[in-house]
Symmetry: D3
Subunit: 328 residues, 6 copies
Amino acid sequence: MPLFDKPLSELREYRPERVEEPDFDTFWERTLDQAREFPLDVVFEAYDAALSLVDVYDVRYSGWGGHRIAGWFMVPSGATEPLPAVVHYIGYGGGRGLPHDWLATAAAGYATFVMDTRGQGSNGSPGDTPDPVGGANPQTPGFMTRGVLDPEDYYYRRVFTDAVRAVEAAASHPLVDSERIVIAGGSQGGGITQAVAALVPGLAGAMLDVPFLTGYRRATEIVDTMPYGEITKYLSIHRDHEETVFRTLSYFDGTNLAPRCTAPALYSVALMDTTCPPSTIFGAYNYYAGPKEIRVWAYNKHEGGQTFQTRERLLWLRDLFKNEAAER
Amino acid sequence: MPLFDKPLSELREYRPERVEEPDFDTFWERTLDQAREFPLDVVFEAYDAALSLVDVYDVRYSGWGGHRIAGWFMVPSGATEPLPAVVHYIGYGGGRGLPHDWLATAAAGYATFVMDTRGQGSNGSPGDTPDPVGGANPQTPGFMTRGVLDPEDYYYRRVFTDAVRAVEAAASHPLVDSERIVIAGGSQGGGITQAVAALVPGLAGAMLDVPFLTGYRRATEIVDTMPYGEITKYLSIHRDHEETVFRTLSYFDGTNLAPRCTAPALYSVALMDTTCPPSTIFGAYNYYAGPKEIRVWAYNKHEGGQTFQTRERLLWLRDLFKNEAAER
Amino acid sequence: MPLFDKPLSELREYRPERVEEPDFDTFWERTLDQAREFPLDVVFEAYDAALSLVDVYDVRYSGWGGHRIAGWFMVPSGATEPLPAVVHYIGYGGGRGLPHDWLATAAAGYATFVMDTRGQGSNGSPGDTPDPVGGANPQTPGFMTRGVLDPEDYYYRRVFTDAVRAVEAAASHPLVDSERIVIAGGSQGGGITQAVAALVPGLAGAMLDVPFLTGYRRATEIVDTMPYGEITKYLSIHRDHEETVFRTLSYFDGTNLAPRCTAPALYSVALMDTTCPPSTIFGAYNYYAGPKEIRVWAYNKHEGGQTFQTRERLLWLRDLFKNEAAER
Amino acid sequence: MPLFDKPLSELREYRPERVEEPDFDTFWERTLDQAREFPLDVVFEAYDAALSLVDVYDVRYSGWGGHRIAGWFMVPSGATEPLPAVVHYIGYGGGRGLPHDWLATAAAGYATFVMDTRGQGSNGSPGDTPDPVGGANPQTPGFMTRGVLDPEDYYYRRVFTDAVRAVEAAASHPLVDSERIVIAGGSQGGGITQAVAALVPGLAGAMLDVPFLTGYRRATEIVDTMPYGEITKYLSIHRDHEETVFRTLSYFDGTNLAPRCTAPALYSVALMDTTCPPSTIFGAYNYYAGPKEIRVWAYNKHEGGQTFQTRERLLWLRDLFKNEAAER
Amino acid sequence: MPLFDKPLSELREYRPERVEEPDFDTFWERTLDQAREFPLDVVFEAYDAALSLVDVYDVRYSGWGGHRIAGWFMVPSGATEPLPAVVHYIGYGGGRGLPHDWLATAAAGYATFVMDTRGQGSNGSPGDTPDPVGGANPQTPGFMTRGVLDPEDYYYRRVFTDAVRAVEAAASHPLVDSERIVIAGGSQGGGITQAVAALVPGLAGAMLDVPFLTGYRRATEIVDTMPYGEITKYLSIHRDHEETVFRTLSYFDGTNLAPRCTAPALYSVALMDTTCPPSTIFGAYNYYAGPKEIRVWAYNKHEGGQTFQTRERLLWLRDLFKNEAAER
Amino acid sequence: MPLFDKPLSELREYRPERVEEPDFDTFWERTLDQAREFPLDVVFEAYDAALSLVDVYDVRYSGWGGHRIAGWFMVPSGATEPLPAVVHYIGYGGGRGLPHDWLATAAAGYATFVMDTRGQGSNGSPGDTPDPVGGANPQTPGFMTRGVLDPEDYYYRRVFTDAVRAVEAAASHPLVDSERIVIAGGSQGGGITQAVAALVPGLAGAMLDVPFLTGYRRATEIVDTMPYGEITKYLSIHRDHEETVFRTLSYFDGTNLAPRCTAPALYSVALMDTTCPPSTIFGAYNYYAGPKEIRVWAYNKHEGGQTFQTRERLLWLRDLFKNEAAER
């Protein structure tokens, strides 16, 4: 049944009960504090991408635990003034690829920063960043259950921290206007965006397409696709860990992160999406605490709006900075 | 069996027997002459793509039968001198999409022209060009058997002609240096490139990734994937048309087109490609009559080299024009 | 879930809201008037089918746009008096096949007429009738979205018109009693039957098995199978055409055609049919304005009653003409 | 790889080593002798099939073990002279269905006899004949390994015997000319035909489409499809029965039956048939000892020639009896 | 949708309407009486299993119709006193395998008896017991529709009877304490256990994991998996047998057997089980008339609790006999 | 094609070219030396498995890097003399499960030791041992490419080392006769067994069923199944790492380990095994340098001999120790 989730009219009102541990905020404060004990140590090294309209840099900076995270940075050739910037997070499995994979915001004139996802990058597009933390528990292949028995150990604690520091790394470049940074991502990248929007104040905007990492329990109950299915698979074997797992996940759940976000946001959702079901997305969106819009793609699965959504982003960004400029 | 085709050492020597009708060249001369009876009538209309580093134009020109073909054209903002150009052809099913889908060659400083494929553009990426020619025979859904009982009626007669005229359309723009036009495409786009390289003299280069539309009969015998499988499907029903069909296809077969090509060429092939099997590609490549190189991706299916191959293209293009400039 | 649609008790009462354009009837009047400007020009040519109990003719007549439509015609050998006749329409993808594929009604003593479906006939059974109208828009492979942006251009406008003229072609034969013509078809053939029953007055009966082409929007929401899925596929790419597409389809929707039918009808439906879901069929059946019966196959998918339904048809036809004879 | 078996040129010469037990002929003599100890006891009961050009009878006769076997019998209405007849055997899983499923040979003027396959008839088309013999061994679901540990117990011993007696039952009807009986079947029906052609002298002809039940061992080695796969499945569990199983099957193998056949035969084979691989068919055909022809369908799987092959049959039958009449 | 059935809170209350024939009890009385006319004739033959901690016997006894049923029997080496015993029934398709497959209860010190399932044992694990009763009707491959048109003929009439007699066979061994016999099985084995618990008084306990053979009609309506799907398949062909089939099945339905059970029971169920849906299991469990517990596995399909459930069984058994001993 | 690999006669002779780095032996010496710098520190803690014929212990010992590895240990209740022992390694993905999963060798009277596989145990059977080493590179989900760019970092360096130490841990127990230790495993467990047999002198025997981790390159070329497919997947993304990857794997390849083994060995292989293709297994077996036998399962896939092979093992073990005793 293609329209397998709630009807759109219900989705627009859907606010699931939120389950949140009392130390949610202190957990994240502590986490970021720990990470910041390591110097950020950003290195921008010029990279020959065989492109002429943009200058490209191969980036390294210290994320969680001081681990070195790879990235790309691009600015229009010959830029001299600080520019508004877009920081990109990547979908599940993929890595940063090559610079020419990230030209849309660059060609629109924004400083463009891409964060590699630690450990990923062996599916779809190549990555260059290992996750040097060993497993705290046996896990289902993939990333969803790596360290899932304790929020301290959970894989996404490291990834979300890397992502916060990616904003700091971008902001450190002289050609980036640190007051005009927008964060963006689709699927897992959207889930990371939702986390960073909750954890970093002063962002200019957030663009989240078909975000993942939100509404975990419901997701496992209504779809059996990967990657949410990794949780199901884990629990089908480790039958005694159900509550432990969902407690850990609650610290990383968009449903709990969205109410902490205030930057203007552009979401998108696809009504036939069996990977990131619409109710898990609206369940976060409806709690999102900043100005917000959502594009609804009626006849799409997880691909969502694809190139049309890229266009939506470019137009929304232009408006965002135009209005912001007007307000200044 | 992942390595299902001939071993690489045999592939490098593989020259299948060519089956070619005596009027092959006159068929194509006549076809192009007929098409050129219609004025090309290129229109470049400025398009707001929300990009700032490039100027974008929505293009229309007359292809086969005077039918209007859509395209995109991009040049670096503020360009004033004629530039080398790349003309792109598209993979099976897809359409021209949106301009930001084609930024790699544009950001490398080339004038970039994209031809929409008539009738296609309802799979993967959207297109805007109908094929206003009705069916000359019942056909398998798709494009492979549309008009396949007669070379005069065959769908790719129209597409290849559109593609020849796309080069003419690109060359007509004042910011294009008509002596430095490279054509490019992957899969079906690679097959079209092979045809245009045979039919248009004076091209500066051709880039063909995992080209389709070559070695039809062998393809139907060793793989059952689409789109070659459309031919199999057709012949499984129209059991009495086998020879007629392969006679028609011989006019559109890369194995017969490649020996007529002289421009420098960069090919790529993937050894586990079950969509465009390596022997069908080497079967053309080994006959290609110009300077040539081929990138071999050992562990890939039809995705081939993906972003790595894009990088190969950018480097090859840079060398091509550097050497050419040096030679001048 | 095999019983994926509404329960039978609800299906029997299900009358979905009908969405119909004000010019529905004038659209069809105009369409048929235009078609009738071309002479019907039926040709019955004797065909050696190696059968001895029936005489077989290869038929050609002019359908929409004067295009020549193929068909078969069979009568009992040596028949001399006008007979009741059955006009058959074919399921999606298939063609008229060969005469021995259509013997059931012939062996039951009815004049039997089979209409080839233009463009189809390369799947399941071979056909001989091209659709000589070019595409008005890029389309998903198949027939469901050919010309779907405008009712004037839509593929089924031509097919339904051909089907109306097939009745006229059958009626023109001296061995057919034009007052005793029944139309029949399964799946797409059932959808065509529903249209013809609405557009042709004076039919003796209509037999519709698991009819297709009815309740399009609901179909795309509850099943993802082909051929309704072609619409979903199209809209997943051409995201901006949703309303245009469903407006076009409303002219060809059984839900709007059934209320215009008055001939006695025998329907069948299968409760586990994921190709033509039962609610889309009952949604039309419950509006059907003539005397009607429906056979419900509880444990079947789209195959429905198969040979049992053929028997139901033969018995229903015998009763129909017996009662009619009695009434005369 | 669609052309997965030997190339056609090799197939035409392929004569596999035959493995045959010394008591092959006495086994079958004894089997038929035992069966004939039961009176044939044919009953032809008029059946209202709602057809008017043919008279239909529901048949019962005694097959192996005196078990009652169902069938259909049809003759042209009003026939008074003995006619040539066709006895049909059915494909795997299916049953005799309803009379209107068997009209092709009837409409061509032949007396038509259809044998139900004991135990089958719950897949595709319904049957009415149980197999009242219990299992002599645990078996894989299906019929291929029922009693497979001993030729005396093997399921097809009973089926082939029923099939021999079907010819006798047909011949017993006054409207059948017992000197002009042709036997026919596709797939399993073709395998049964091959057996009956070896076991019954004096047949006028045999028509075998894509015959099954021949070349068992090779079949299990080159395809993993059902129903040959039932043997593989059985041997994957009963790992110690390999030689016993293939010894039993040797009594029922077309490769051993074909050399014992002398009636004129029309075979067909499909080169992409993964259910009944072409080498298993040519392996029998090349040993067939009577006059023979084979239709080769190059681009088909197990569906073979379908309606085209039906036409081939009707033409071949007409020639057969024309020539025969001429010879008399 | 992984949680495809009713929510757990509803499942815990779910008591479907029971449909039971008036002669249900007399049917079973008569059935068992008939079986007991044959002497049980148990034979325990020492078997060299290459094990040293247990003594192993290859068992044969007479089940339904006096047919010889195979089994295994194991006791701790050197046991001299009557022991509590566990009688095991097997899941669908499988056979008794080898003795080392059944060590868990043996190593826990229980006399262990395993009943082979007649006719099965050619899937998963090998069996040695044929079902020497021939088919009373054509059937779908498998066992679900063997003899399904009449409760007298139905396959599970024989199996349930064999299973009752297995308890008698176990009880006959001098090392078995016939007052302390527990029966056990998973899936089909659980369904058989449910039947035996209803038909044999005085059992010490019953362990039923994800039991099959219960709630047939609902099962065919909500899942399309095998083996319930065999019924669907049968009814999709034998469209006229729906009521007959479900009438037969009512004699073998856990929903009707559970209310007749009084021994203490340990059930298990898996909430994502699409083979034996949770509502069919709770539909019986909630009617179960003895003391009972159920383990609910939330994230599992038909594998249920697997090794964890084995542990649950061992602990439950220990408690059962400890309490029982305490009560004595 | 079920028999997709070389024919058995060729397999029996197949000795592929071996590619081995010069420091192969020193690599392993160094690796084990490093591991042994950590004290083994075995802990045997009594565990209540609710079994009475065996005593069960939950084991922990130090493997590679001093990491704590879980295991089970079982001996017959009341044993007082040192016993021959079997050390088990586990198939890919699974963990040590529960003690009752490992009863076969225990019930045969052997001390039984089971090693958990670090990081695994979330598929099939649960495990309790994390792999506390972080990734040295991005990797394909699973274990095959974890650290694959350097033999020092490779996952199986740690696993093989754990396995060597498992033998030491078993030998340390007073009820184990350290001169009579046999190692055993299937699939991955068989691959580990092959490694341990090469790295540990003085073993009494080795049992390897359908061993994995041998002939990597050929495996990726002839099958596309997991887990070998993880390598293919990795190389399809990290296209530039092909030689690096296969260099690393050469240190862990059964083809290079087998020639270093001298203990008597019992192998098994399945000819239709598409997970661990027969040529990869014979490619190692034929180089195995000790006394050896191989059981060939002709009609099986990766399940191999299953329960029959367990029986083969028990008989082989009995013979092994009988002969050994005789020799002493």
